[in-house]
């Protein structure tokens, strides 16, 4: 455990000494400052005046979207090079020639990257909540429940990109990770939202394919919707705890594959 924490601590240090972390954090904070305009006051959507509760819910959802978007971006950028750069530079031999198992090294790297992303998400979440409190006079506690569930998506994305980066290159891993995430989200829209699902009615093969892919693919979209359901009723009508269970199962599969691939790699 000490070795895992040593690798994790070093990865956190690496992340926090990387300018990219502060650039992304700065950009995200600017977006949040802009987004706080939706909170309180009079908000209209399609010429309909929203109630204060609806406006609050919409504003929090926008904030949640901004935080998750930049959190995922940072997770992708950090995880794509976390292992690959150590392999490419040969630094990995300095680590795994010491009395540390390969799985411990992977876990240390994973915990380190996750911790840096969580720091980013926590700073953004707290910053957004303070802004909401100043504007609307309410502290959005539900946002943190949403972000808590959303951490699963970050965990899955980091693990997914780690695995792909072990067998391809960092760029392919990043691109593949983004594409998989977007694909999963689009797929889950067709599964969960009536308006989208109706478009597939009359095409039985498309319905079947959607169902198969839904079960076969990581359910980033579903987990995102489920986490958003804590702050917006629009999502809670269709969501359940199933995506969380599916994500956890997928995580197990990815980690077993990763441990297998990494244990056979030569450096």
């Amino acid at each position: 455990m000490r070795q895992i924490l040593a690798i994790a601590g070093n990865t956190i240090k690496e992340g926090l000494r990387n300018k990219m972390f502060y650039i992304l954090l700065g950009i995200a904070l600017i977006f949040i400052l802009i987004g706080r305009g939706c909170m309180g006051g009079s908000v209209s959507v399609q010429n309909q005046q929203l109630s204060p509760d609806e406006a609050f819910s919409l504003g929090t959802t926008i904030g949640f979207f901004i935080i998750t978007f930049w959190g995922l971006t940072l997770a992708g950028l950090l995880s794509m090079g976390a292992i690959v750069s150590d392999v490419e530079t040969g630094v990995i031999t300095t680590f795994i020639s010491k009395p540390i198992s390969r799985l411990e090294y992977l876990l240390g790297k994973f915990i380190g990257v996750l911790a840096v992303v969580l720091i980013n998400v926590a700073v953004l979440g707290l910053g957004f909540s303070i802004l909401v409190f100043l504007k609307a006079g309410i502290f959005p506690f539900a946002l943190f429940a949403s972000l808590g569930i959303f951490v699963l998506n970050i965990v899955l994305l980091i693990s997914f990109i780690f695995l792909i980066s072990l067998v391809t290159s960092r760029i392919i891993a990043m691109v593949f990770g983004i594409l998989a995430y977007v694909f999963s989200t689009v797929l889950d829209i067709f599964v969960y939202f009536d308006a989208a699902r109706e478009k597939l009615i009359g095409i039985p093969s498309a319905q079947w394919i959607t169902k198969i892919l839904y079960f076969a693919f990581p359910q980033w979209g579903s987990t995102w919707f489920y986490s958003a359901s804590f702050i917006n009723d629009f999502f809670s009508q269709t969501m359940s705890f199933w995506p969380v269970a599916h994500t956890l199962l997928y995580l197990c599969l990815i980690w077993v594959s990763m441990a297998f691939v990494f244990s056979r790699k030569e450096f």
Partner: protein, 303 residues
């Protein structure tokens, strides 16, 4: 007792056989030099030893455990060739991290880091990021991290690479000090003069095959001679030397003596006194490691 035992060790990469049935034993407490031209398989051997690469056939054990075993790695200090480090880390931080990976306590890590930073002349640079270090400084911090946990065996891959003569001497002194402390030291190098000065035994590897193993004296194909320069040569001196030597040749004022046995050298001072000769210099001329190495590689090439 042997620290490393390799049996029929073979490693095939997709297009090349890096190691071809290597059998080797490195004894506890000896300084062992592993020589070979570039691409001979030296680094592959070390990587197999550390579990970074897996053998295709055969086996290798370290301290009685299979190579790559975590328990075995705990007893090894490894300096990779062209040490590459994370530039964002400071010198002291890197040593602290190494100590953590070996499971050392905070107090021990601090004490050892202080000691080796001082020993290797890096105390003033301990708080600078490694990206600002010169190649020689990186090599020294690499040696320090290999020593941090007081290992039973040091695996040094080109330890003096990138160092100036003073730096190389410092590393040599450290290697010898570790040897006196009873550590096994395995040096992978093509700097033959360095190996000659520090190693008890050497192995020469070429195209993945072990072509010579042994002490330097035993590897030599030519017998050592004694070169003695005198102020004036004399028949009396020649005859006296001929009595204790197998062969005596004279070139200008220098006698080239092929000794009969190990006692020949010891008898020469008596002969000088007995014959009243005025000796200017005396030295042993033995085949250098470079000669042995080049001879072995050439011989292998002609097979």
């Amino acid at each position: 007792m042997s620290t490393i035992i390799a049996t029929n060790l073979t490693k095939d990469y997709s297009r090349v056989r890096a190691l071809a049935g290597v059998d080797l034993a490195v004894k506890e407490g000896e300084v062992f030099g592993f020589l070979g031209p570039n691409g001979a398989g030296k680094t592959t051997f070390i990587k197999i030893l550390l579990g970074l690469v897996f053998p295709t056939a055969g086996g290798i054990s370290v301290f009685g455990s299979p190579a790559g075993n975590t328990a075995a790695r705990k007893r090894i200090g490894y300096l990779p060739e062209n040490m590459r480090l994370q530039g964002f880390l400071k010198g002291r931080e890197f040593l602290d991290l190494s100590g953590k990976l070996y499971g050392l306590s905070r107090e021990v890590r601090k004490e050892r880091a202080d000691r080796y930073l001082k020993l290797l002349g890096l105390s003033d640079d301990a708080h600078r990021p490694l990206r600002e270090y010169s190649k020689g400084m990186l090599q020294r911090v690499g040696i320090a991290q290999a020593l941090m946990h007081n290992p039973d065996m040091l695996l040094l891959d080109e330890p003096t690479s990138g160092l100036d003569p003073i730096g190389a001497k410092e590393i040599r002194d450290i290697i010898l000090a570790e040897k006196w402390r009873g550590k096994t030291i395995f040096i992978n190098s093509h700097l033959l003069s360095e190996v000659e000065r520090t190693c008890d035994r050497v192995a020469i590897l070429n195209h993945g095959k072990l072509i010579k193993v042994g002490k330097l004296d035993a590897l030599s194909t030519r017998r050592a001679t004694i070169l003695m320069e005198v102020a004036e040569k004399s028949e009396k001196l020649h005859e006296a030397l001929a009595r204790v030597a197998e062969q005596v040749q004279v070139k200008d004022n220098t006698y080239i003596i092929t000794p009969k046995d190990d006692q020949t050298m010891a008898l020469i001072p008596g002969i000088i006194v007995e014959t009243g000769a005025r000796m200017i210099s005396i030295r042993e001329d033995r085949e250098s490691l470079e000669d042995i190495f080049l001879g072995a590689i050439k011989q292998e090439g002609t097979k």
